[in-house]
């Protein structure tokens, strides 16, 4: 019997660029199709910090770069800066 795996993705937004800082925002996408997370579906984050997700088995595959602000726009606010993407490979059967 063959086992197929699918990717589950967790996006955590942290309070600073440190992976062990608090989670301030979160999103998830489920490649198994078993769940359908969506906008505004939870008020409580899945983990308190980025490291807590690692401890639970999520693998970090991308972290936001630290990019200096554009000259003249240093005081503007825009997207969340500290975005970390994690994955988990989940068996889905044959």
């Amino acid at each position: 019997m063959t086992t197929t795996v699918r990717q589950q993705v967790l996006v955590l937004y942290l309070a600073t660029s440190a992976l062990d800082s608090p989670v301030i925002g979160w999103s998830s996408y489920d490649g198994t199709g078993r769940t359908k997370p969506t906008t505004g579906d939870s008020d409580e984050p899945p983990y308190e910090t980025g490291v807590a997700a690692l401890i639970d088995g999520w693998r970090l595959f991308q972290a936001a770069q630290l990019i200096p602000p554009y000259p003249g726009h240093e005081h503007e606010v825009s997207f969340l800066k500290h975005e970390f993407l994690f994955e988990r490979l989940t068996p889905t059967g044959g």
């Binding site: 996006v11 937004y13 942290l14 309070a15 600073t16 800082s21 989670v23 301030i24 925002g25 979160w26 999103s27 998830s28 997370p37 969506t38 906008t39 505004g40 579906d41 939870s42 008020d43 984050p45 005081h75 503007e76 606010v77 825009s78 997207f79 969340l80 800066k81 500290h82």
Partner: protein, 270 residues
């Protein structure tokens, strides 16, 4: 007219919204769905309120309620124009949640702002998919649904409210209609107002020196990053200076410190 206080205006500048629970009387709420689904005439962009909603019409009765009229006057001043209006319906057990977005396009105005009125004629429960909004997101410069990847932020508001609730929002607020998981349709009527005057001291300024003003403007939110949260306060200071005409106002010296570039030349010691 029930003008806003300075403390309420400061709350709007910090949070990007003001909420008025259950202020619309039951006799209006009871006819709202029929009146609004029957259709409010389509308007050309920029129609003056008086022309858009004739005296005696349902919408005019809504926005002439003293608490609503006073708040709108305080925020956008006399004689605003109607940008557009729309009845949003989330069908029972249907539809998808909207991506988190700001309406229209990225808006880089420094001082002027539009106000969006959201009116909920019926009680909204958590299951009915009341509007998701993010307090304090209105000064972020992002374009429409480019924020769609953000599903949940700490301290977000998933609106639950009694019938007859009105929320007034800064045009830049991040928001989205949530999925309706209930068996009842959920209605929200939205009107966007554009100012036609400079938005300076249009409210009841009698409490301008109240320490509660600075306290409101200093409010922080759980979703702010540590560093960017400081910039949020700075940007509120800039907006408060514009609204009051007081270019010396500051909080925690944020604006004054970074503007200090002395030109006076010291006399050299002999």
């Amino acid at each position: 007219m029930h003008l806003l206080s300075s403390v309420q205006m400061a709350r709007f500048v910090a949070q990007g919204s003001l909420r008025f629970d259950g202020v619309v009387p039951a006799e209006l709420n009871e006819i709202a769905v029929a009146a609004l689904t029957a259709g409010v005439p389509h308007l050309p962009y920029g129609t003056p309120v008086e022309q858009a909603f004739p005296a005696g019409s349902f919408v005019r009765r809504l926005i002439d309620l003293p608490v609503i009229a006073g708040a709108l006057h305080s925020l956008v001043g006399p004689g605003p124009t109607v940008d557009h209006h729309w009845l949003h319906v989330r069908e029972p057990h249907g539809g998808e949640a909207q991506d988190l977005h700001a309406d229209a396009i990225i808006d880089v105005r420094k001082e002027a702002f539009d106000v969006q009125l959201m009116y909920y004629p019926q009680e909204v429960t958590l299951e009915m998919g009341g509007t998701l909004s993010v307090p304090g997101s209105h000064l972020r410069r992002t374009n429409e649904s480019d924020t769609g990847r953000y599903q949940n932020l700490r301290g977000q508001t998933r609106l639950v409210c009694p019938a007859g609730t009105v929320v007034l929002l800064h045009h830049g607020i991040w928001h989205g209609g949530r999925r309706n998981d209930s068996g009842r349709p959920r209605y929200m009527f939205k009107i966007r107002f554009n100012p036609t005057v400079r938005q300076v001291r249009l409210w009841n300024t009698g409490d301008l020196a109240d320490p509660a003003v600075a306290a409101e403007l200093s409010t922080t939110f759980p979703w702010y990053e540590n560093a960017t949260g400081r910039l949020e306060i700075l940007n509120r200071v800039k907006l408060w200076r514009a609204l009051t005409g007081d270019d010396t106002f500051d909080i925690e010296y944020w604006a004054t410190r970074v503007a200090n570039e002395p030109r006076r030349v010291a006399i050299a010691a002999s």
